[in-house]
C-alpha cells in the first residue's frame, strides 16, 4: 500500500457533515446486525430456561451467568464442557503447531537442497490441496480406524496435518531470504540444520505467528472430522459436541447451558483473532495468495 504518489489530505472527498454522520450511522447499524446473533446467545446464557422459553425472550442480560456457566463447564449435558474445551485446545494446537513444523521442514528441504525426486515431491504436496477431508471421508475414516486411532488425539490431528498452503507460504518466504546468508553460513562451515535453526527460523517468526492464527482457527473450528471419529463423548471437541447437547426427539433443549457452551466455543478463537489482529489479517491475505 505504500506508494510515492501525491496523496491529497484524507477527507477531501465527501467526508464532512451529514454525509459523515450517515456513514457512521449505517456502519453502526451494520455492526449491530452482524453482532446480534452473538449478543442474543450471550443474553440467553445469563437467563433461566423458563425466562428464555417465554417468547419473546429478554434482550438484556439476566442474573444467572455464573450459575449457567458453572453448570456447563462442570456438568454439561453428555460430558463437562471443560473436557470438550480441553480436547479442542489439544486438537487446535496440535494441528496448528504440527502443520507449521512439518511445513517448515519440507519447505527448507525443497528450497535449500537439490535431491532426486524434489520436483515430484513438490507436486505431490501441491496435490494435497485438492483433497480436503470432506472429499475422502469414508476411506480416511477406514485408515484411521485401521490404525486403531478412533477416539484418540492422534486420530483427530494427523489426518488434517499435512498442509500445502503452509508449505508454499514458507517456500515463498525462504526464496526471498538473501543468498548471502546461506553462503556465509556455508563458508563458516555451519551445517544445514544450524543454518535452519539459527538463521532461517528466527527470520520466519512473523510468518509463523501469522500462520498460527489462521491454522489455530482452522483446527478449532473442525466439525465433520471429530464428528466421525470421536464416538466417545469424553473425546468430543466443543464445536462438534455442541450439537450433541440437543436432545433427540421432542425433549426440550437445555438452552441456557447450550448457549453458554456456544459462547465458550467462540471465546478462544475470538481472543486469538482480536489480540493478533494485524498478524491475522496479514496471514489471511498471504495464505490466500
Amino acid at each position: 500500500m505504500a506508494d510515492n504518489r501525491f496523496e491529497p489530505p484524507p477527507g477531501m472527498v465527501e467526508k464532512r457533515g451529514s454525509a459523515l454522520w450517515l456513514t457512521h450511522l449505517l456502519m453502526i447499524v451494520g455492526v449491530l446486525v452482524i453482532f446480534f446473533p452473538i449478543w442474543l446467545a450471550f443474553v440467553a446464557s445469563t437467563h433461566t430456561q423458563s425466562e428464555i422459553a417465554q417468547a419473546p425472550m429478554p434482550v438484556l442480560p439476566g442474573s444467572h451467568l455464573i450459575e449457567n456457566y458453572t453448570r456447563a463447564l462442570f456438568s454439561g449435558v453428555n460430558v463437562p464442557v471443560a473436557t470438550m474445551l480441553f480436547n479442542s485446545m489439544v486438537m487446535a494446537l496440535g494441528i496448528a503447531l504440527g502443520k507449521i513444523a512439518i511445513s517448515l521442514l519440507s519447505a527448507f528441504a525443497i528450497v535449500y537442497f537439490r535431491f532426486p525426486g524434489r520436483r515430484f515431491f513438490f507436486w505431490m504436496i501441491f496435490l494435497t490441496l485438492m483433497l480436503p477431508v470432506e472429499v475422502r471421508i469414508v476411506p480416511t475414516y477406514q485408515v484411521v480406524a485401521g490404525f486403531g486411532l478412533l477416539n484418540s488425539y492422534s486420530g483427530l490431528i494427523l489426518p488434517l496435518i499435512a498442509s500445502a498452503t503452509a508449505t508454499f507460504l514458507f517456500r515463498q518466504f525462504f526464496l526471498t531470504v538473501p543468498d548471502e546468508l546461506a553462503e556465509a553460513a556455508r563458508v563458516d562451515g555451519a551445517r544445514p540444520m544450524r543454518f535452519f535453526l539459527d538463521i532461517l527460523l528466527p527470520m520466519s517468526r512473523t510468518n509463523i505467528a501469522a500462520l498460527f492464527v489462521i491454522l489455530f482457527i482452522y483446527g478449532w473450528n473442525q466439525y465433520l472430522w471429530p464428528l466421525l471419529i470421536t464416538t466417545n463423548p469424553e473425546m468430543n471437541t466443543i464445536v462438534m459436541g455442541l450439537k450433541q447437547m440437543f436432545p433427540s426427539g421432542d425433549d426440550i433443549a437445555d438452552w441456557p447451558v447450550i448457549m453458554a457452551t456456544s459462547i465458550l466455543a467462540m471465546v478462544p478463537p475470538v481472543i486469538v483473532v482480536i489480540s493478533m489482529q494485524k498478524l491475522f489479517i496479514r496471514g489471511l491475505v498471504d495464505s490466500e495468495k
Partner: protein, 293 residues
C-alpha cells in the same frame, strides 16, 4: 524461482520432507485412491466380498433423482451464499473506507464472526429462528408470517444460507477493505473534480478496480460453500426437509456413514474430487491474474 546457493547431500532433505510425505501418502493419497477403487465395486450385503461393477455405481448415481437434485441444491446454495456474503461485505467495506476515524474499531467488531465456527454459527441462528422459542420467529409470527423451517423447504434453505454467509461477511469485508485502501486516492480526487458524484465514481472507477478481488473472492466463497458448510447444515436442518438442503458433501456423509452405502459414497467422493480439481485450477488461474494485474 530457484536458489543459487544450496546445501549438499540428499539424505538430510529426504528426512526433512519425509513427515509431510508420509502423512500425505497415508491420509491423503491412499484414501483418495481407495475412494476411486471402491467406486468400481459393490460390497455384498454382509460386507464379505466385493463385486466389480465398472462404472455401475456412477450410472446408478446419476440416474438417482435425489443425487441430481443434490447438484441443483448445491448450485443454488453456493450461489446464494456467495451473493449474501459478498454484497453486504462490499457495502460495509465502502462505508469503512470512507471513514478516517473509527474504521479500526468497526473492523475489530466486524471480524468477530470469522472466528465463530460454522457449526456454532448454525446453533446461534437456529436459536433465533427456533419455531418454539426463537426471537426472530416470534416477531415474524407477530407480523403474520408463520415461520417454520422444519417443514418449509424454502425457509430451511434461506436459514442455512444466512447462517453460512454470516461469518463469511467478515472474511470478505477484510479483503474488500484492504483492496479499497489500495485504490489510489488521486484517481478518486480527479473524478470528483470532474464532478462525478459518489455512486458514479463507485460504479465507474472503484468497482472495476476491485474486479480482481471480486473474482478471487467468488472462487474462494464457492469453495467455502461447497466444502466448509457441513457444520451449518448438520446443526440446523440435517439436510432436510425432504433433502431440500442436502448439498453434495452432506450427501457423501449421509450415504456413506448413515446409509452405509459404500459404493455410492465412494463414487460421490470421486465426483467431488473432480469438482475440487476444477475449482483449484480456477482459483490458481484467478490468483495468477490478480498478481499480474
Amino acid at each position: 524461482m530457484e536458489k543459487r546457493v544450496t546445501f549438499k547431500g540428499w539424505l538430510l532433505p529426504m528426512l526433512l520432507i519425509a513427515p509431510q510425505l508420509i502423512i500425505s501418502a497415508v491420509f491423503f493419497f491412499y484414501p483418495a485412491g481407495e475412494a476411486v477403487w471402491q467406486s468400481l465395486f459393490i460390497p455384498d450385503p454382509f460386507g464379505l466380498s466385493m463385486q466389480y461393477v465398472g462404472l455401475g455405481n456412477f450410472e446408478y448415481l446419476f440416474s438417482d433423482p435425489y443425487y441430481r437434485a443434490s447438484f441443483l441444491t448445491t448450485a443454488v446454495f453456493s450461489t446464494l451464499v456467495t451473493l449474501v456474503s459478498m454484497v453486504p461485505a462490499l457495502f460495509l467495506a465502502v462505508l469503512a473506507d470512507r471513514l478516517v476515524k473509527g474504521a479500526g474499531t468497526y473492523r475489530t467488531l466486524l471480524i468477530w464472526p470469522y472466528a465463530v465456527a460454522p457449526a456454532v454459527a448454525g446453533v446461534l441462528w437456529l436459536f433465533m429462528f427456533n419455531t418454539r422459542i426463537g426471537v426472530v420467529a416470534f416477531y415474524l409470527n407477530q407480523l403474520g408470517y408463520d415461520w417454520n423451517h422444519v417443514l418449509n423447504q424454502r425457509e430451511a434453505m434461506g436459514l442455512v444460507v444466512v447462517a453460512s454467509s454470516w461469518g463469511r461477511i467478515s472474511y470478505n469485508f477484510l479483503f474488500y477493505f484492504a483492496a479499497l485502501q489500495a485504490v489510489p486516492k488521486s484517481v478518486i480526487e480527479a473524478a470528483a473534480i470532474d464532478g462525478a458524484h459518489f455512486w458514479r465514481r463507485f460504479f465507474t472507477i472503484v468497482l472495476p478496480l476491485l474486479s480482481p478481488t471480486t473474482f478471487f473472492l467468488l472462487v474462494v466463497n464457492i469453495v467455502y460453500a461447497f466444502f466448509e458448510t457441513f457444520g451449518v447444515i448438520h446443526t440446523i436442518t440435517s439436510g432436510g426437509p425432504q433433502q431440500a438442503t442436502t448439498i453434495l458433501v452432506y450427501k457423501v456423509y449421509a450415504d456413506g456413514f448413515v446409509g452405509q452405502d459404500l459404493g455410492s459414497s465412494a463414487a460421490q467422493s470421486v465426483v467431488l474430487l473432480v469438482v475440487v480439481g476444477i475449482l483449484t485450477v480456477l482459483q490458481f488461474k484467478f490468483v495468477e491474474k490478480r498478481v499480474h494485474y
